[in-house]
Structure formats: structure tokens, C-alpha cells
Symmetry: D2
Subunit: 278 residues, 4 copies
């Protein structure tokens, strides 16, 4: 028997859990775990169900559609490995961490490619037999460069695109092509230090805590739905370089945590926020 994940969201009304679980019950499925949430502001209902059963996918989807109505968004995913593409620039720690996790089976994904505007990480990708695409941005305008990057991404049909310290500003065209499928790691506890050089600015401000934020990418830089955040304490003895070094460990762990949530279909995007069933 296979395991499946069902994601349902729709305007809230009475009996939703009853209806969804009824469909599963009548199809002899066994619920492994179940999470629901109703957003009080938008009166919207979210439900994630993990269940096992030998199912006829299209039959179940049709039945759910009929029972829940046309305004319900329904997604039925098989519990299996997904494909990802990593976009990186020069920094190694996030791509390196993900590559090691994949090699040893810790990552529920295949890294189909690393794409970078610099050639720095080719050596690392090569060692682990991961295709590396160097797409320099010299002599290209932003649109031309993005078109090439998008081509390289699309060749691999990834479920998710991971921006592992990809230090390029993205156009709306690029962002909307991968809506809710592109995860970025930002090196601050957003919304503090939106934009460039967060560690320098954290140093200048004299904060006692620094952090990292993984979020879906939207048109507004660093303002997309937050998936995961974490922090570490620092002191006046930390120079900017010390913060950057200390921050790397938070960045890579937070990115991996957010990616796991995405790969396990645990995230709903609710306007500019996430709802996470973990």
C-alpha cells in the first residue's frame, strides 16, 4: 500500500472534515495523520491528510470535488521523492549542505542541477556528479540572463527551485513563472535587514541576535511568505566576518528545514503567510 498526501483548502463551512474523511473512509483508506486550520481573518479552511490505501486517484479526486464543491482547491500527492534545482552564486555552504544530504539519503529530493552565475561551485557539483550550469550574466541584460536561467531550470522540470544564496535580483516574470515553488534563504531574521548586506547592518545596529529566514519568493524582495526562521546569539566581540561565519550555520540549517517542509507537502501558502502542518 502506498502513502498519499491530500491537501485541501476552501472557504470554511460546516462539515468539511467530515466530508473529506468520509471520502477516505468509503475508499478504505487509513488516515496516518491529519491537520486542519481555519484562518479566522479570511474564514478559509486548510487541511492536510496523510493516509495509506490502494486508491484510484481520479475517482477519489472526483468524489472530493463533488462533495466539497467548486471552490475547493484539492491536491493529491504521492509520498515520494521530488526534483529540485539549486540556484547559487559563489557561496558554498547552503549548496554543499544540500548536496551532502542528498548523497546520504537525508534529502527527500534529487538535485537535478546546480545553476550559477559564477563558476565557483562547479568543482563541488562535479565531485557529486550533479550537472552544473554556469550562466554568467556578463554582457547580458537582466531579461536575457533570466531567459537563459529559466531555460536551464525548465530542462529539469523541478518541483522546487532552491535559491541557495543566489545573489541576483529577480524580475516579476521570473518569479511568477515559479510561484510558490521557489524557496530563498535570506541571511537575517526578516523583516529585520531586508535587502543587501544584512550582517553589516546587524553589526552597525549592534543587535544581540542574528538569524536566517527561508521564504517563498515573491515579486517584492524578501517579502514572500516565511517558511522557517532561526536565530543565534552574538555579542559585541563579533565583527562582521564573525557574524557571517556564525550565520552560515543558521542559514544552511534553516534552508534545509524549509525545504523538507516543502518536499513533504506540509506547507500551504495563505496570502502572504504560510500554514505549516508538521
Amino acid at each position: 500500500m502506498n502513502n498519499h498526501i491530500l491537501l485541501v483548502d476552501c472557504p470554511d463551512r460546516e462539515g468539511l472534515v467530515y466530508r473529506v474523511t468520509g471520502v477516505l473512509y468509503r475508499n478504505s483508506c487509513n488516515i496516518i495523520s491529519n491537520g486542519e486550520f481555519v484562518d479566522r481573518d479570511s474564514k478559509h479552511f486548510f487541511m492536510r491528510t496523510e493516509f495509506s490505501g490502494d486508491i484510484d486517484r481520479s475517482a477519489i479526486l472526483a468524489e472530493l470535488k463533488k462533495d466539497l464543491g467548486d471552490d475547493a482547491a484539492i491536491k493529491l500527492a504521492e509520498k515520494k521523492k521530488k526534483n529540485i534545482v539549486i540556484l547559487a552564486s559563489k557561496e558554498h555552504h547552503c549548496p554543499g549542505d544540500l548536496i551532502l544530504r542528498q548523497k546520504y539519503g537525508e534529502l527527500k529530493a534529487d538535485i537535478r542541477a546546480v545553476i550559477s552565475n559564477h563558476d565557483v561551485l562547479r568543482d563541488l557539483a562535479d565531485k557529486f556528479d550533479i550537472p552544473f550550469h554556469h550562466i554568467p550574466h556578463d554582457n547580458l541584460n537582466r531579461d536575457e540572463h533570466e531567459t537563459m536561467v529559466m531555460g536551464a531550470i525548465d530542462d529539469h522540470s523541478p518541483d522546487y527551485i532552491v535559491l541557495a544564496k543566489y545573489m541576483r535580483i529577480l524580475t516579476g516574470r521570473f518569479v511568477s513563472a515559479y510561484a510558490n515553488r521557489m524557496i530563498n534563504i535570506h541571511h537575517s531574521f526578516l523583516p529585520a535587514f531586508i535587502g543587501a548586506n544584512p550582517y553589516q547592518r546587524a553589526y552597525d545596529r549592534g543587535v544581540k541576535i542574528i538569524g536566517a529566514t527561508a521564504h517563498f519568493v515573491t515579486e517584492n524582495l524578501d517579502e514572500g511568505p516565511i517558511i522557517a526562521q532561526d536565530v543565534i546569539t552574538i555579542s559585541h566581540t563579533h565583527g562582521v566576518e564573525d557574524m557571517i561565519q556564525a550565520g552560515r550555520d543558521v542559514e544552511k540549517v534553516v534552508l534545509a528545514r524549509a525545504l523538507r517542509l516543502a518536499l513533504e507537502d506540509r506547507i500551504f501558502v495563505n496570502r502572504n503567510k504560510t500554514i505549516i502542518f508538521d
Copy 2:
């Protein structure tokens, strides 16, 4: 319309969520939040549902009983303030914190009494018009003393008994009289430093982290089901007194957090562990 909390646990089988939500649906109740968990080891099912509706309690309970079978434990609680009794010795920070929370409406409980084997905290209880019972243990054997304490507790019919640094070892008779209703705060991150003088032993061991643990009290000292834990970092500059001081803030916050979970009916005890829907 009132809010209600339904707690169900029973051996796992197909259709449980469907059955429970069906009863609520047929009684025109609206689910506010829902949590389920199946313990893979014991194949036991746990479900907490918060719902609103004008209900006939006994009718719903009967219907649930019928649908779920005799092996289901079903509890239907109204969402309202509970009563607690605090047992304390000489330390003020946990009782004081709870008393302030009650005064300003932060605690979903009425503190019906503070009972202590010392007279130290009478002054504090008096200030906030909370009955204070001083039950010294001098010239009494353990059973005699406990009988007096139990009498004082039972006069107030509390939902929960909070051991807010009550530094007395309890007999099995006492513990079993308040099974799953007595919450203790232990001044270490259990199971490290079970027993007496945890800060001294943390100091001697040279740990870099200290903590606190709130747990239900069982016959085996410091081995009951853990509800909440938290920690803080320390360094070699902390003497034992510094640890005690730093630890107080963790203790009082962890105890309040655990108590909130109990007062909101968010905890199942699953053998020696807790399942918490928060």
C-alpha cells in the same frame, strides 16, 4: 453559543475522525480546530476537537459512545476557567508569577488556595486575597502530614494541583489521589539531574546549558510524563547561585506554559509521555 472541547482516545481503527466529526456535524456544531495523532507503538488514537454549538451534552456523549464503541475514552469539557491549588515551600518565584497572572486575567484559572509546609509565602498570598494554608510537617510523619494536605486540597476541589517548588517527597497514596492532575516544576532539563540539588550538580558537571521541566507527578520522582521543557545557556562564570537565579526565569515560564496547556485541555497522557495539541 458556547465553545466546547472534545477529547477522544481509543485503539486506532479506520474511520475514527469521520465518526467523531459526523456526530458533531449532525449536531450542527462548527469545528474551530482539530488535532489527531496515532501512536505507532501502541496503535492508539488521540483526538482533540474545539467546536462551537448549542449542544445537549449528554445526547452528544451518548451518540459518540455508540459510534465509537466501549473502548473509547471520551471527555467533553466546556471551555471555561478551572480551579487550581498551589503547593509551595519557601520559594516565591513560581507562586508569585502565577498569582500575578491570575490577578491580571492571564491565567485561565482561579487559584483557590496556596498550601505550604512553611509560612514564608503567607504575606504574598494575603496581598492578593488568596487563602493560605500553612501545614507544617514538624512532629508529623509523612502520612499524617499528607493527610492534612490532602484535606486542605480537597476542600477546594481543584481541577489541577500545581507543585510550584514544593520541596517534599510524595507517597504513592498522595500521587495516585491526583493522577494526571498534579503538575510539578523540576529545576533541570530532565532526565538530567533527577533528584535533589540539580543546580549544584549542573555546576559540578560543568554543563553549558541548564533548564527546567514541567511534568505530571507519578510515583517515581521526576519520572512522570513531561509536558514542557526549556533551557538557557550558561558559562564557566556562573556559580551555583547565578545558575539558581538564571534558572528561576526558566522555571516560572515553563511552569506557566505547562499549566496553560493543562487548563486548555490540550494534553493527553499516553503511558509515560504526553501528546500535546497546541
Copy 3:
């Protein structure tokens, strides 16, 4: 023999530690702990020394002045209780926590008064025999009100003024009167959510972590030197009220931690940052 705390800061140059410890050595003082830091940006030297000895304060100060030169800021404090005044509005948790700490000897300070623009906390202050000054701002312009508050503060000659959720914007006149002596608790991990309603904005932004920041008050709201910060994790299930409730525990603990550092003369203000020897 009494314990003393020596704070020295001056432009960095060779031999500073040697000179300072030389003066102490020649005066038969015994160093208990010692911390130094050189800010690489400003090339400025900071040193805090705790020592014991029967000293002639003015002789030691003169000797240090002679040895270190005119550009050295030297402060010699006795290790003893200081006086504080609390400014509050309606919220109880920070003032209440400080009052309990004082009552039980946890706070190295005497709370000389609670001053508030509302009458809400009078009852609490009265219970603990702490003078309460209600200075309403109705029918007063900002300057008039502040003049009255400053008068009430100055009557008690406090070492530090603690803004324990005092929800009033302060003028430059007020701020500069108590430079580096006024500690505020802000209910966010600054610089995130500067200004009003940080929990509402944290909710709207969908952060996964909230926090609190204690800082010295300067003319620019929420931009003064940060003394202490801490955070707690939240999730999509937290509404604004839940965040406010959860945040209170962080706020009161962070404020108490920052105040302890100030009361123990552990903080240097270095332009817009703090250097803390703990």
C-alpha cells in the same frame, strides 16, 4: 573589605591593562574579574574590573587619571544596591515582575516609585508599599506632562529609569536628561517592527519568531543601544492575542536581564551599541 567596580574607556594604546592593573596592585587590591575589549572601528579601549580592597577612592582615581591621561573616562563604583524608578502605563507584567523580584531580594535595586500616566497599577504598587504617582496627560501638552514626570522622577534621584511598557513618545529634552540611564523594553526583536503595534505587524507579516529588545532610550524611537534580546517561536496558530500573551514572558525576562546588567555596571555604551562584560 568592600567590592568595587572600575570602568575605564579611552582611545586604545599600548600598556593600558598594565597601567590599570598596576594601580590596583600598588593599592593592594585583588582583582576578582576583568574584562577588556577594543573596538576595532573606533580604536577605543573598554575595561571593566571588579576588585576587592580597602581603598582610598579619591587617591586611586587620581592615580588612574595620572597614569591613563586626560582622555580616559574613569568610573569607580561601589558594588551596592542602586535606586530605580519605573515608568509604566497600563500593562502589569513587566512592573509586576520587577516588583516581585525586589520583594524577594532578586533585584539589586530599590524601586523608589512607579510613575504612570494611568491609574491602573496603583493597586499593585500599593500592595508592595511602593510609592505610586499617577500623572495623567489629559489637558496637558507633551512638555507640560513631561515636566511633571521629570519632577516626580527627580524627587527619587534614581540611578536608572525603567520604561516598563511606558507607552508614551518622549521628547529630546526628556531623553537627554537621562542619557544612558533610561532602559526601555520594546516588544519586538529590533530592528524588526520599530514603532507601534509590533505584534499586529508580526502577525500580518507571518513571522515564525517573535521577540523582545531592551535598549537604552535615545532620541530616535527604538533606535538606542541594544542591551539584551530574546525570542520565542510561534506558528500560524497564534493570533495576535496569543502573540501578545506569549510575548509578555519574553518581555519581562529580557527587561530583567538588561536591568541586571545595568545595575551591576556591566554595560558600556559605545556610540549606538553596547559592550557588555558578563
Copy 4:
């Protein structure tokens, strides 16, 4: 001008900081940072000084020896890369993390070799051109095996030996050969869950926090001086495998943090504890 690190410890007495800094001052050295600590229990003094200067090492050491007396332990280290050897078994995450850090210059050490009782990690070491020694323990008694491992270690003259999940019990002979130079990562927040299978036992106990501890190895398993610890929160939804997975991120980060402290000569071992100047 080179940077140097001076470590001094001796029984506490008046004038120690003055004497040490006097020697440095007379040799035209400039102190960059300075930390001192006196252990109140043992009345022992510890001092770490980072300074710059063109020095005659033996002259300074002789001068310090003369000024401080025969009971002073004095170590003068140049601030430079050290050599380490990694001992591992089958788990990849700690060795992999250290190898990536080295490759990209984050680790202030050269990994001279990876030694393992299994052949699993050869592939990883090979990719990064790090010598890999497979020393199986089949058909060998413990002493024979250790003799071979010690031979392999000693061939590389490492400053530190890192036990990166090396799952073998060590004899006293082995341990004493590398006293205060061998760092182990244990997969629990010691002293909780000393010994084997800490995650299984954490699961059985129902803790809400798990952690990792890096410590110097001594004869008593898991009882050596603790260098660094960290934790993460878990819940009832975490099975043992989930804990193991979540724990890996804490383990690798805590080990790297402890190793950095050792490589920068920031650790004193004080009987069974560490004193850390960071």
C-alpha cells in the same frame, strides 16, 4: 607582525594580570583581547591573551616564567592553522560538514586524515583528496585495534583528534595518549542519556527537547569536560528516526563550534570542566 596567543594558569594571587601584561608591554606587544577568570572553588587563575608583536618567543617565555613562578602553566601559541585527524564510523554528517568547511577555508585546520573502522566514508574522503585509513576491527582485540589506530593517528601528528561519531569504546591507554586533545560529539544534552542509543531513550522518556554535547574525551565515557552544547525542541510527533534526523543538524553544528574553540586556543580544562574565552 604576527599574532600570538598566550595561555597562563596558576594558583591565584595578587598582581597576576599586572605581571603578565607588564611582560608584554616591555616587549612592545599590543594586546588585542584579554580574558581572565578565577575559579573560586580551586582558587586558580586562568588568562588568555591575544596580542601582536615581533617577539622573541623564548625570551618572553623565560621572562614570564621568572615573573610568575614555577607553579604557572604557560603556553605561547602562534595564531595559525592546526592539524586534525577525524575518527569516524559510518555516519557522514559530522565528517562531511568538517570536510566542506575545510575545503572552503571555514575551518582553521587541515584535516590530515579520516580514520574509520568501516569503509563507508572512503568515497567522501577521496572526493576531497583526504587520506582515508580503513582499520577494521574484525579479528582484532580492542588493544590490537587501538594500536593500529594510534599508529595511523600518530603518523599525522595532529593537534586535535575529532571523534565525529566514532562508535567505539576507548581504553584508558588510548584516551590518556591524547589527553585534552580528543574531542567527541555525543548525541544528547549530557548528562542526560549517557551511553548508547540516546535518541531511542529520549523517545522512550518523552522529552520535549533533544540536544548534542561536544566534550573532551576522558576515561569515563561521556563524562569528560563539556565544551559546547545545543538543543532543539521536538514534539510527540517525532519518532526515533525523526529525532535522529533532527539531531544531526545539532550534532554537526555543535561539533564544529567546539572544534573552532579548540583550534583558536580558547579552552582551558579545569579539572572536569572547561573555561572558555570567546
